[in-house]
């Protein structure tokens, strides 16, 4: 690719923003949450306007992922899960809709969604196993970790196609080939896009560094959890292309996580049980 044809990171971010934006409901929730006099009922009212989303959130709150029993109203779900967590969850559940225009032969949204949800569940379970506080953010970051790939498919389908072709023969992982030809990768792009959408750093940073967590200054631990979950998903082939080699493990970051290997099988089995149920619970019109 000629140098003058290489799109810069900023350009791709602004091109993506001109085509798709976070759903309106996310911005409304954000405004309400930041409003000093807003109540949980106000937040629940906004969500309840969207019946499909309401049903998906309720199914999810009642799924084993949360372990609550019988949550029958959105306001109760907001109270138990948390206002910011619900807002981010709404974003994660609705964002794929903005990328529907991606050609099927470039990326199958269904497979992408399955991989994202699997990564989200495994991330959350690893975090839970490590006794991390506020594990919800891992679920959201897991769902959004490859959003940069969606953006790239939407804005530069040709670049994605040629990188894909090369990955099949070059024995290289996608992000390395992206860095070689674009000077940035889908992780960086995803992080930058989420930042431009004012998504908090505790989500955008782990997304930005999910292939090279050691490089993250402030969110190394979170990024490593997403990194490991992504690797596990690829190894166990959850919605991924089995012909592309699995990315390299960041061994240094992994050892710093101090995750006991005896927990791996438990996390995988637990996630296996939850995956099917969660996929059914949050299935909407993608």
């Amino acid at each position: 690719m000629k140098t003058d044809l290489i799109p810069s990171l900023d350009r791709v971010v602004s091109a993506t923003r001109s085509i798709c934006s976070p759903p309106l409901i996310y911005n409304r929730l954000n405004e309400t949450i930041n409003h000093p006099r807003a109540s949980i009922q106000d937040i629940a009212r906004i969500i309840s306007e969207d019946q499909g989303l309401t049903a998906r959130l309720l199914r999810m709150a009642n799924s084993p992922l949360y372990g609550f029993t019988r949550i029958d109203s959105i306001s109760r779900a907001v109270t138990l899960i948390g206002t910011r967590e619900i807002r981010d969850l709404v974003l994660a559940l609705t964002i794929t809709k903005s990328f529907q225009k991606i050609p099927e032969n470039l990326l199958k949204l269904e497979e992408h969604w399955q991989h994202s949800v699997a990564c989200a569940i495994i991330s959350k379970n690893i975090a839970f196993y490590l006794r991390e506080p506020n594990v919800e953010r891992f679920f959201v970051a897991g769902i959004l970790h490859d959003i940069g790939r969606l953006a790239l498919c939407l804005v530069h389908p040709e670049a994605v196609r040629s990188i894909h072709e090369r990955a099949l023969h070059a024995n290289q992982s996608l992000y390395v080939l992206e860095q070689k030809s674009l000077k940035f990768d889908h992780a960086k792009l995803g992080g930058a896009l989420l930042k431009a959408w004012n998504i908090p750093d505790n989500i955008s940073q782990p997304v930005a560094f999910h292939h090279q967590p050691s490089l993250s200054r402030s969110y190394k631990r979170d990024a490593t959890i997403i990194h490991a979950a992504d690797l596990i998903c690829h190894s166990l082939a959850y919605g991924t292309n089995p012909r592309i080699p699995i990315s390299r493990l960041d061994e240094k970051a992994w050892s710093e996580l101090e995750f006991p290997l005896s927990g791996l099988e438990t996390v995988v089995k637990q996630s296996d049980l939850q995956l099917e149920e969660i996929l059914v619970a949050i299935r909407g019109d993608l």
Partner: protein
Amino acid sequence: MTSISIDQAQAKMTLASDVFGRNGRLLATQGTVISEQHLLAFRTWGIREIEIVSADNNETGIKTVTDAISAEQLKETMEQIQPRFCLNNLSHPLIADLMRLCAIRRISADEN
């Protein structure tokens, strides 16, 4: 009384001690004959081990998936999947474990 990992636990085993969730919530009491629902709840609450009343037979008759797969079969499948892991250090404990899990998964998928 035997302490077993949650992955080895099966329905119809009897609990030898109370099981508490990580926040101290009592999930099941001593003497409960556990069901699939109990196992799901235990996993959800992050329980890793439970204590069960030993059955008469040796080692409570637990048979794990790995027992059913021969070492040869596992080795062969691991060789087949090795190219997917070519960018990684195959002797790293996590990668080695993932390859094993991936192989077991593939073998059980083929058998089904």
